[in-house]
């Protein structure tokens, strides 16, 4: 999406040899090289795994010839670089291969698990943004007061807490002791597969279906893991907001605005905050990317059937096609979000040109 936007811009201004077009081509080139490198590293790691993928297909009792057939069928007899390019060719055609564990196409598996992660990370980011930005702005405005100190402590605790431990403690307190939230998983066991899949995100699907009972149940399950991810996102966003705001608040135009007699609220929100919006969006994009990839441990704690858990399970059972597919998808999103925030910066901040 980011690229399409950029393309449009490049074309509108001037046809060829424009800096925008060159930048676009350069960006596309660097994405391609990065993605290829990412895939290659994963591929090589997958090939040196101590677990034999052939054995996990044919079983330990298989005869030598069965083993050899399966070995050749997986293409393992070819040189590793040839195997790699065969794989890339397939990926470009939307074929991530077949999972060794359940013999289903990996692309389908990813389509199934990815919305769960997306739902979790999106909700977490929304929480992080709605709490983190005000907290950061207030901390900057009331610099040095107890509110600033509190914001600092909140952020430091967030940076220092092991996420899986916080998840466990959350489950213990809010599920085990207080019983306020649903336990692990996305919905209660009675409700599994009850709503038709449209987006794969259960909150949206149940709302579309008008099934508010399931919606409520799903909400009670997602609220805790999302809050935990949201806390980390908030810690990061509030810190960044604070330092961006401090930079603006010491600028001369703020003094001018104050001297003009504008109310402090206008000075803060209409003048200073307006100028950090672009920087903030890049920070939010980064934090979103981090949540998407960083939800691995959270998903395991909460038995959340997302892409993090999918990759981990696949890794531990040497299901290399699944690992590769999952990593490439996560990596691609990560790279795209990074580039998106970078481009946004260039487009909206004239100083970055």
């Amino acid at each position: 999406m980011a690229m399409a936007e950029k393309n449009g811009q490049g074309r509108r201004r001037s046809p060829f040899s424009s800096p925008a077009l060159r930048l676009t081509l350069k960006t596309i080139g660097s994405i391609l090289i990065t993605m290829l490198g990412l895939a290659f590293v994963t591929f090589v790691i997958g090939r040196v795994m101590p677990i034999d993928p052939v054995l996990s297909i044919v079983g330990e009792q298989a005869s030598k010839s069965t083993y050899d057939d399966a070995y050749a069928a997986l293409g393992l007899d070819k040189p590793i670089i040839v195997q790699f390019f065969i794989y890339i060719w397939d990926v470009l055609h939307g074929d991530f291969g077949v999972s060794l564990l359940n013999a289903r196409p990996v692309a389908e598996d990813i389509k199934r698990v990815f919305p769960a992660t997306l739902e979790l990370a999106t909700l977490g980011t929304i929480m992080g943004v709605t709490l983190g930005i005000p907290l950061g702005v207030i901390a900057a405005v009331k610099r040095g007061t107890w509110i600033d100190q509190l914001a600092r402590v909140v952020a430091l605790v967030g940076y220092s807490m092991p996420i899986f431990w916080l998840g466990l403690m959350g489950l213990l307190v809010f599920y085990g002791i207080l019983g306020w939230v649903g336990g692990p998983g996305r919905v209660g066991i009675f409700y599994v597969d009850m709503v038709p899949t449209v987006t794969g995100m259960i909150l949206i699907d149940s709302a579309l279906d008008g099934n508010w009972e399931i919606f409520k149940n799903a909400l009670s399950h997602i609220i805790l893991p999302a809050s935990i991810l949201g806390y980390y996102s908030m810690a990061y966003i509030s810190r960044m907001t604070r330092s961006f705001m401090l930079e603006q608040m010491s600028a001369e135009y703020i003094t001018t605005a104050r001297v003009k007699g504008l109310p402090e609220r206008t000075v803060i929100w209409r003048h200073a905050f307006k100028n950090i919006r672009v920087q903030l969006i890049t920070v939010i994009a980064l934090s979103y990317a981090n949540l998407l990839e960083g939800s691995v441990l959270t998903e395991i704690i909460f038995s959340w059937p997302g892409i993090g858990q999918y990759i981990t399970t696949a890794l531990l059972s040497a299901d290399m096609n699944a690992v590769l597919g999952g990593t490439i998808v996560v990596g691609l999103i990560f790279v795209l979000l990074n580039i998106f925030s970078d481009l946004l910066y260039r487009v909206f901040d004239p100083r970055a040109k």
């Binding site: 790691i45 430091l156 940076y159 220092s160 807490m161 092991p162 996420i163 431990w165 990839e293 441990l297």
Partner: protein, 307 residues
């Protein structure tokens, strides 16, 4: 040290007119220390880390029990039980002793990663920055690839490929941690590369190797140290995460992340088994974060956001 001598030492350290290169260096260090000392949060962080060092060094003296000694009759005793202040785990091992011994593993991992990642980054970054051209392009492209990788997933894949264990966890974490150092070192090198004193050294006939190791590395160190301290919290969390997934230190080793994973099964009945090692991880990484924040203000005032 006697009071008079201390005064003399202080004056020597506070001087505005250092008499030798070493004198100037000590004076600068002392000034930095004074700034750091004025920051109570950083001091708390330092205290936590000193405590951790002490705990690791004197583990056999401090721990009331053998951390590996099982006692199946006394399993899952709660906190404050007879002889077990923090209770026991599912095999009846004393939790306090295990947490104390676990500090050794944490320190071991942190120390190794703090050595490997910055050195690899420094090497790649300075060589890329100083050589420029195609070498720079290739090295930085590789750095970008590793930066683009989801860190935990890369570490996971790496450990899964090499086999679980502490050494491989250290390698995996270092593998994900070096790219930022390379970026920093390269940026520093680019600003230093064209300065006059490098030109002077070149005229004296120094080769690239000598220039990089003797004249560029020393100037990159301070920004790397800040980054290391701030990174260590992340390293501890990553190591704990790998341990939790069963890919780090192997049982019966008292690694904190693995202890949480053990305690997870009894979380609803015996909450302390998973809670206590988690608190230990939290405290130590908080210590590194606090100290790192303070150090950043001292060594790198332009980024400091608390000043």
């Amino acid at each position: 040290m006697a009071e008079i001598e201390k005064q003399g030492l202080r004056a020597w350290l506070m001087t505005d007119t250092p008499t030798s290169r070493r004198h100037a260096r000590f004076a600068a260090l002392y000034a930095g220390w004074l700034t750091l000392k004025a920051n109570p949060m950083a001091m708390v962080g330092l205290a936590i880390l000193i405590l951790l060092l002490g705990m690791a060094a004197f583990a056999p003296l401090l721990s009331p029990h053998d951390p590996f000694e099982q006692n199946l009759i006394g399993r899952l005793q709660s906190m404050g039980a007879e002889g077990h202040i923090l209770g026991t785990d599912s095999l009846g091992r004393d939790l306090l002793s295990r947490v104390i011994y676990g500090s050794r593993i944490t320190l071991y991992i942190v120390a190794l990663v703090a050595l490997i990642a910055p050195i690899v980054g420094l090497l790649v970054g300075t060589v890329a920055g100083y050589t420029g051209g195609i070498v720079d392009a290739i090295l930085m492209r590789i750095t970008d690839i590793f930066l683009a990788f989801p860190r935990l997933v890369l570490a996971l894949a790496f450990v899964a490929a090499l086999g679980a264990g502490i050494e491989n966890a250290v390698l995996a974490i270092s593998l994900t941690a070096w790219p930022p150092y390379a970026r920093i070192a390269r940026a520093e090198t680019l600003t230093i590369r064209n300065s006059d004193y490098i030109a002077a050294v070149k005229l004296q006939g120094a080769g690239a190797f000598r220039i990089i190791t003797k004249h560029i590395w020393p100037l990159c160190i301070s920004s790397l140290i800040v980054r290391v301290t701030l990174d260590m919290a992340g390293v501890i969390l990553a190591a704990a995460g790998l341990g939790f997934l069963g890919l780090g230190a192997q049982p019966p080793s008292p690694e904190w992340g693995a202890m949480i994973s053990e305690g997870r099964r009894f979380i609803l009945d015996s909450w302390w088994v998973a809670t206590i090692p988690g608190l230990a991880i939290f405290t130590v990484s908080l210590g590194f974060n606090l100290l790192g924040d303070g150090l950043r203000d001292v060594l790198d005032p332009k980024d400091g956001d608390s000043a």
